[in-house]
């Protein structure tokens, strides 16, 4: 009768994520942009053997407290901050496709690195711009493209090299996934999304790049309330929308 992508709970939103799934998780690396509740629901569900595609495998609860402490003179980070590191620490991740594998400094070792050194997890390192572009290509029906990024470095290894305009380029392939977990600020029942400030990051890039895109939002508004000129993620890219608990957002 009417399009309604709103789902009532985080459990329901991720109920069909199965062991072995490939999951995009949208964030750059801070509290403002991570789909924290969806990540916690997935941790609770305990789904195993996940491949995650994300800017980083996450600070996790190993490093978030240290990060919080490091920047506390500048910014207070919310109590509900979690990232994909929680899934890594839970032993749910088999492989990570990321641009930033380690902690925020050589001295900060995340759980992913420990597991990597122990041979428990696989790692595919991708330059950040190439990662973003491979995800967009997955969304755009472009199977592969050439970039100069990584030419003449270890990133080139095993890849096709080709010279355009006298410069080395490497062939990079599209990334897609079974699910994309993203965070936005507001949504309507069609799945149109708006963000706040610097929280678009990989969220807006991943929306639509997976078979199922699930958006965790601060607020769901009536259809027509979002300014059509200011919608960042068009509804076509979003399959499910779930709202954060208002009382927890308020508390913070």
């Amino acid at each position: 009768m009417a399009i309604n992508k709103i789902v009532d709970s985080f459990e329901e939103a991720i109920a069909d994520i199965r062991d072995g799934a490939t999951i995009m998780i949208g964030y750059f690396g801070h509290a403002g942009d991570a789909p924290c509740w969806l990540i916690r629901a997935l941790a609770e569900k305990g789904t195993k053997n996940l491949t995650i595609i994300s800017n980083m495998p996450g600070w996790g609860r190993t490093l978030i407290p240290a990060f919080r402490e490091m920047v506390k003179g500048l910014i207070r980070n919310p109590s509900w901050w979690d990232d994909a590191g929680l899934l890594v620490e839970n032993g749910q991740v088999r492989k990570a496709v990321v641009s930033w594998a380690s902690g925020m400094s050589p001295a900060h070792v995340n759980d992913f690195e420990k597991r990597y050194q122990a041979g428990e997890v696989e790692l595919e390192m991708v330059p950040q711009g190439t990662l973003a572009e491979r995800i967009r290509a997955g969304k755009a029906g472009i199977p592969a493209f050439y970039v100069p990024t990584g030419a003449g470095t270890v990133v080139e290894e095993g890849k096709e090299v080709r010279v355009f305009n006298g410069r080395r380029h490497i062939l990079e392939h599209a990334l897609t996934a079974d699910f994309a977990l993203i965070h936005a600020h507001k949504a309507d029942r069609w799945g149109n999304l708006v963000y706040q400030g610097t929280s678009r990051t990989f969220n807006a890039t991943m929306a639509g790049a997976a078979k199922v895109t699930i958006a965790e939002v601060d607020e769901i508004v009536e259809l027509g309330e979002l300014d059509p000129e200011a919608v960042v993620t068009p509804n076509i890219y979003v399959d499910r929308v779930v709202a954060r608990p208002l009382e927890e957002l308020r508390k913070w």
Binding site: F28, G29, H30, A31, G32, D33, N55, F67, V71, K72, G73, L74, I75, R76, N77, P78, S99, W100, A101, S102, P106, E113, Y116, Q117, L123, M125, V126, P127, Q128, G129, T130, A132, E133, I135, R136, V147, P148, T149, G150, A151, G152, T153, V154, V155, Y195, Q196, G197, T198, S199, R200, T201, F202, N203, A204, T205, V232
Partner: protein, 223 residues
């Protein structure tokens, strides 16, 4: 040598910021880079691009009360809102970077070769590391400034004939600002243009592996 003056991070950031010309779009890498945000020379208007999706963020805030978790620079520091700023996704951000729309980028460095090769992402001996946006920035920006200490903690040169660490990008660096010198990378080689007070050319050369060309206009670093 232990007693000689070396610029601290803030002072290096101040020196780097002098390179920002009026109207430039500048990306500041994580680390010393982001500190440059607060030192734009008087009378110049510079637009900062943060690879996490913003153009035109202002200086870093001075207290957590002014901080907004959705107004961060790439280093995760809270920035001030500015008139003219705008936001975008990660793919769009790297369209700007890879597409050569950024006038200047300031990056940290572990090693720089005399040809301008940069190594700044791998964690030696750990088999992984943080590429982040460094590879895109190093080859995408029109001008690349590397800011780093001149030597490692154990005193070994970081400006080398050939990098030993995995590269970020080959032949990409234009300017090196260290804690003791300002060096420009040219077709002819490394040109020493500025030196920190108290250091001689010979002393800087002693901690630099490739031969330095001394600029006819060599002067002391001024801030």
């Amino acid at each position: 040598m232990v007693d000689k003056y070396r610029m601290d991070e803030q002072t290096m950031a101040l020196r780097v910021a002098r390179e920002f010309q009026d109207g430039m779009v500048v990306n500041l890498g994580v680390g010393i880079g982001t500190q440059c945000m607060n030192y734009v020379p008087e009378g110049r208007e510079v637009v900062f691009q943060s690879e996490n999706g913003a153009l035109g963020l202002g200086p870093i805030v001075s207290s957590p009360d002014e901080a907004d978790i959705n107004l961060l620079n790439a280093g995760g520091q809270p920035a001030s809102p500015m008139k003219g700023m705008c936001f975008f996704s990660h793919d769009e951000s790297f369209v700007m970077i890879r597409g050569r729309h950024i006038d200047m980028v300031v990056l940290g460095g572990m090693e720089v070769s005399e040809k301008g090769d940069l190594a700044n992402w791998a964690l030696p001996g750990r088999g992984l590391g943080n590429i982040g946006g460094s590879m895109d920035l190093a080859l995408g920006a029109k001008s690349v400034v590397v800011v780093m200490t001149h030597t490692t903690k154990s005193g070994k040169p970081k400006i080398l004939k050939k990098c030993s660490l995995p590269l970020t990008a080959p032949e990409c660096v234009d300017i090196i600002v260290t804690d003791i010198a300002f060096i420009r990378i040219t077709d002819k080689g490394l040109v020493l243009e500025e030196i920190v007070p108290g250091w001689t050319v010979e002393e800087v050369q002693a901690v630099t592996e490739p031969r330095l060309i001394v600029s006819p206009d060599l002067k002391e670093v001024t801030l």
